[in-house]
């Protein structure tokens, strides 16, 4: 027979049950201070008061199932009592009066159960479960069709290490049309929607018209990336006429041709986006004025690290506590930050030399001449060169904001600083 007596606490021991909202994320429970963050209302609360930390730790012990009893004496510890009240005000904690004869309530606090967790498969020796149905993870492809370009942009070989961009190779190389078709064909059973076509100067790709014909055969959202210095109206119109997207890169110093004239041609095409690369505030101001003169223009602004503008980054890019908490961060986003890199996950890049990368700052994970995209997705899941790089390294792993922060980006790699923030500066 079911025995429920043991679920009822002995009379008079506890005055309150205390628990945390199931929407609350608790950071750094094992260290000397903790951060409680409500993932629904965005309220947060930090404490280093040891008795309170002990209470939160007890709540998380499996045998307490999210709730602990507080004795009447808790009210005598004024600091602890005030801390508890503060938690309640922020809808982070909940205090319940113990009712005599009633059993202890339970609260199912957040524990991530990721069914296809590669780390867990590896630890349990079930590596044969990693590779099942993994093509669905591939969502984006960047195909560099050539390295040819007649321009000499000063930061040419830096841009693409930071953001989607063209780059000029030391030698002239191009990807054969056959290989491009192989890639498009193999991606058809993945979740890929976007395909970025980049160069070099893609207008110098000798089989560009044949490649455009392939865009009619394989249905994806194609984005053709063109540096404004290489802009050619006739080819642009051909690309646009096939309902493809165009992304016009504008980096500084500007090219001889007027950026305004390019903007005039592209205006009204809602599949066109300007991608501005800026290194200084002056450049930012220039871009701001420019876009104001073209109402309706679609654009993105990307900061570029040039080796000397760290102050610009510190002032405008580095995150503060307020920046991190400015938008409410959902529990899923926090779980996501613990398990994968949302900047990289799902994206593969094929270079003109046929090498395949999960990120252009990482080593190659395959060669499209002999490896399929499926092989490369598997290789990346196992080797983790980029897709699952999270903030589990120093100094982030000592910070309460570790998984509230966005995933590590290319900027951290290029700048050579692993935390682009002022939180623990």
């Amino acid at each position: 027979m079911l025995n429920t007596d043991k679920l009822i606490p002995p009379k008079g021991i506890y005055k309150y049950w205390f628990t945390l909202s199931k929407n609350v994320y608790v950071s750094n429970l094992s260290q000397g201070a903790l951060l409680l963050y409500n993932t629904v209302n965005g309220q947060s609360f930090e404490s280093s008061y040891i008795p309170f930390i002990e209470i939160v730790k007890d709540i998380h012990k499996p045998e307490n199932l999210g709730i602990i009893g507080l004795k009447p004496s808790i009210e005598e510890d004024q600091q602890c009592w005030a801390t508890l009240q503060h938690c309640i005000e922020k809808k982070i904690g909940l205090l319940i009066n113990v009712e005599e004869g009633k059993s202890k309530p339970i609260n199912l606090l957040p524990i991530l159960s990721l069914q296809k967790d590669i780390d867990k498969f590896t630890i349990s020796g079930e590596q044969d479960l990693i590779g099942h149905n993994i093509m669905s993870y591939l969502t984006e492809l960047n195909i560099y069709i050539n390295t040819d370009c007649e321009q000499s942009c000063p930061l040419c070989t830096n841009y693409h290490k930071q953001v989607n961009s063209c780059f000029k190779g030391a030698t002239s190389t191009s990807l054969s049309l056959k290989l491009v078709e192989t890639i498009l064909n193999q991606a058809s059973n993945s979740s890929t929607k976007n395909i970025n076509i980049l160069g070099g100067n893609i207008f110098r790709y000798s089989l560009l018209h044949e490649l455009l014909a392939l865009t009619l055969k394989y249905k994806y959202e194609y984005h053709f990336w063109i540096n404004h210095k290489n802009f050619d109206e006739e080819t642009y119109q051909k690309i646009a006429s096939l309902n493809n997207h165009t992304d016009i890169i504008v980096s500084f110093p500007l090219g001889k041709g007027s950026i305004e004239s390019v903007a005039k041609i592209c205006l009204g095409n809602d599949r066109n986006t300007f991608q501005f690369f800026i290194e200084t505030e002056e450049q930012y101001n220039y871009v701001s004025e420019l876009v104001e003169t073209f109402p309706g223009i679609k654009y993105h602004v990307h900061p570029i690290y040039n080796g000397t503008n760290i102050k610009f980054f510190e002032k405008n890019i580095f995150l503060t506590r307020e920046d991190i908490l400015s938008d409410t961060i959902s529990m899923r986003k926090i779980f996501c930050n613990q398990k994968l890199n949302s900047n990289n996950f799902g994206s593969l890049t094929v270079l003109p030399d046929a090498s395949i990368h999960a990120n252009l700052n990482s080593k190659s994970i395959g060669d499209i001449n002999k490896d399929s995209l499926l092989d490369c997705v598997y290789a990346e899941l196992v080797q983790n060169t980029a897709w699952r790089k999270v903030r589990n390294f120093e100094p982030c792993n000592r910070c309460s904001y570790q998984y509230l922060c966005p995933s590590p980006s290319n900027y951290e790699t290029v700048i050579g600083k692993l935390n682009l923030c002022n939180v623990n500066a």
Binding site: K104, L108, I111, L112, Q115, N189, M331, F335, G346, L374
Partner: protein, 420 residues
């Protein structure tokens, strides 16, 4: 004519087949036992439905080659992944030459980059002494059907009515003594619960005899012959009630973990309903799919979890589904699967049940297979898994009550349980 929503398409069905994690061969429908409660025995309408068919290795190899060809196409989305080859019956060891030939073929021709293989068998162990060396050599995972001690097992008799216990126990001990490490790692047990055993008795017997705990199944309660309903009721035992009759039910639950009906039920509840459970990285990154995109009922996609190949070459989505629901036919030189027709058939079933599913309070955690619904082929079909608010609350409270009794179960399930 009203257009039916396309929940799945033919290309999806082909993809499910290309990536299926399990192929189960009914090597024969013949059996050297004549268990009283067998799904093909006197209790059920399908009594005497079996005609001693033996699946030919040529037929199986033809199908294996067909699947292997799919692995070379874009329908394949998996690599380096395991595919379980399972041998089922009847009594599969009655067609041992089939097993030997198929295993040899797979190891020689198919093992490689796209798939690794493991071999499973479900057996009554009557012939285990003859073939155990082969199974050990090929690292079979063996699931032995045994209902407990001599009395508990007494419904498992041969065609002359002689009890099988002595022979089976002797064979199990032979395997255990000859290959102790293998026995420890690769041998498990499966018991049917009825009025001659109970969960506490099964727990004690297997723990003491083999240091293991069995998986426990109930008697099949569908398709019972009208004149046998009283006998069935007398024989049937409910697993949870059987467990709760013991004074030591908590200890049994902890020992048996997911094999205990209560622990297993709460694990299923949490995995299906917890907002903190995600299937894969895409769900973490983009969010869980909307309930509007979920196909009605808890039915597996066709071939999504396994393919069952009957002794006469019929393809079914599972061994627990009636043969009238076949999805294809194979012979030694043909494979007949119409992916579009299968998708259309499933879409018709889904459409029939969609309205009920939308109103069901267990729609997120449904495990109801539509092939278990007796009226599934009729115009109107009532889902027996449907839960209104009250039934769902009762179900939920039962699970939460278990967690209150076993608080550590929550973190253990969330951290350790993988639902396949």
């Amino acid at each position: 004519m009203k257009k039916i929503r396309e929940y799945i398409m033919g290309t999806d069905v082909q993809m499910f087949l290309a990536n299926t994690p399990q192929l189960t061969f009914e090597t024969t429908d013949a059996c050297n036992l004549n268990c009283f409660y067998c799904g093909y025995g006197t209790l059920y309408n399908e009594y005497n439905d079996r005609t001693c068919n033996y699946l030919s290795p040529e037929t199986a190899i033809n199908f294996l080659n067909y699947i292997a060809n799919l692995w070379q196409t874009n329908a394949n989305r998996s690599t380096h992944s395991n595919i379980a080859i399972s041998f089922y019956g009847g009594e599969p060891l009655m067609n041992f030459s089939f097993i030997e030939e198929v295993v040899t073929f797979i190891k020689r021709e198919l093992s490689g980059k796209h798939r690794e293989f493991t071999f499973n068998i479900t057996t009554n162990a009557v012939l285990l002494d003859r073939y155990m060396d082969f199974m050990v050599e090929n690292e079979f995972r063996i699931l032995i059907s045994l209902d407990g001690n001599k009395h508990n097992n007494s419904y498992r008799v041969d065609h002359a009515g002689k009890e099988s216990y002595e022979r089976v126990a002797k064979n199990i001990n032979l395997l255990r003594n000859k290959y102790p490490d293998y026995f420890e790692k690769h041998v498990n047990f499966n018991s049917v619960l009825h009025n001659r055993n109970s969960i506490p008795v099964l727990h004690d017997y297997f723990k003491q005899s083999f240091g293991k705990y069995p998986s426990i199944g109930e008697l099949n309660d569908t398709n019972i012959r009208q004149d046998m309903k009283e006998v069935f009721t007398k024989t049937y035992r409910n697993p949870t009630e059987s467990l709760m009759q013991s004074e030591n039910y908590s200890e049994i639950e902890l020992d048996m973990f997911l094999k205990s009906p209560t622990y297993g039920s709460v694990a299923q509840f949490l995995i299906n309903n917890s907002e903190f459970k995600y299937d894969n990285y895409n769900e973490l990154l983009y969010g869980k799919p909307s309930i509007d995109n979920k196909t009605p009922t808890g039915t597996c996609f066709p071939f999504g979890r396994k393919v069952f190949i009957t002794a006469n070459g019929k393809l079914l989505p599972c061994e627990r589904i009636g043969h009238q629901h076949m999805l294809g036919q194979i012979t030694k030189d043909s494979v007949d699967i119409d992916f579009e027709a299968i998708a259309k058939r499933y879409n018709q079933y889904y459409a029939k049940l969609e309205k009920q599913c939308k109103g069901c309070f267990n729609k997120y955690g449904c495990t109801q297979c539509l092939f278990y619904l007796e009226d599934i082929e009729k115009d109107v079909c009532k889902c027996k898994g449907f839960m209104n608010q009250k039934t769902f609350e009762d179900y939920r409270n039962t699970q939460l009550h278990f967690l209150a009794r076993n608080p550590e179960a929550y973190s253990k399930i969330m951290n350790d349980v993988k639902y396949r």
